[in-house]
Amino acid sequence: MRTKLFLLILILLFPILLTGCSAADEEMLNAFVLDYIVSNADKVAARALFGGSGDDWVNGVFDIKEIMDKLQKADKLMDEGLQENDPAKMDEAIKLRPDDWSYRTTRGAFALGNGAVDTFKEHYDHANGLFKDDDTGKLPYLNDAIDQFEDLEDRTYLSPDGPRTDCSTLYTTLSQLYSDRAEMTGSDTDRAQANGYKNQANYCK
């Protein structure tokens, strides 16, 4: 009886919950939630009474806001830093997520493109240090880092006004990244590319 009363109250009250949406969106969300409450009364009651369902993945999704807000805030800072060429904003993002290899790679590439080789090394070494050699999670990092440093190569050498990248550091880094990826995937193409970049690094000197 109490559950039914609770559901009835919810059904009557829900429309006022959805303030701040467009009228059409509000109508659709209201309709969805009312339909959900009616067809999943047991789940709604369980959440109201026990604060969760018996499924940890579902509870994890409903508990994710804090993680998501921090991630969104850091991503926004990193995006703004890149768009505005503002390393301070990138560093703020890194403070929020110090072990995010994507941020470290982006910050490292930005530093290398601005002639700050020591700063590049700090971030590149940190990103590499997050993985063991046989860590399968390293592959997405290597893919992303190769993309970012090859993009830096394009921007450096396709425009006379491009970044002031240290030639030797750039090609040594690319050679290392391809070599690491070849170790993980066994790709001959990656191995050849690693050797190619190693030769280019030698031409820089």
Partner: protein
Amino acid sequence: MVGGGLVVLLLLLGWIGARETGLLARVGLEESVAERVLSDEPDRATARAIMNEIKDEGIDTEGLYIYVLPFKDSSQQLAYAVLDAGAGFTFSHSGEYDALTYMLLRLADSEAARAANIARVAIDYRSEAGDQVVVITAPVDKLRAFARGEIGEEELNEALDADFDMANAYHSTLRWIQ
């Protein structure tokens, strides 16, 4: 003797209550459920690929943010979309399915989602003020079965889980009554 037992029982109940209501997690004495089951290291490449597929369909992606997070101790992942009305999100899809179902299906049934072993999807609708209005989540296998016509709307609805802010509802009600 009885008094000691009662104190122990009360302490035990208090601890269970603090744990179940998330109080322990909030004061940092315990990992939150999300921290326990999800990695906070996003798979950005997959998130970009899903977003690109949505853009390619001509869907307006303003205020739409997609994240892919791995489930810990599993090879499976969660695709999580924040639909932020405050950043300009409006539901723009019209077609065979309603916009909410379409968004869940788009996350679940994209090529990128298949390649990245997405097992569960969620959409998190935020109001213009930034409040979390409703979070809806569903297992990918049910959504794909629905898309293939193997299950109907009723079975899909039963597979959904939704969360909305009870406290907000309560306070809104008080304001409304006054």
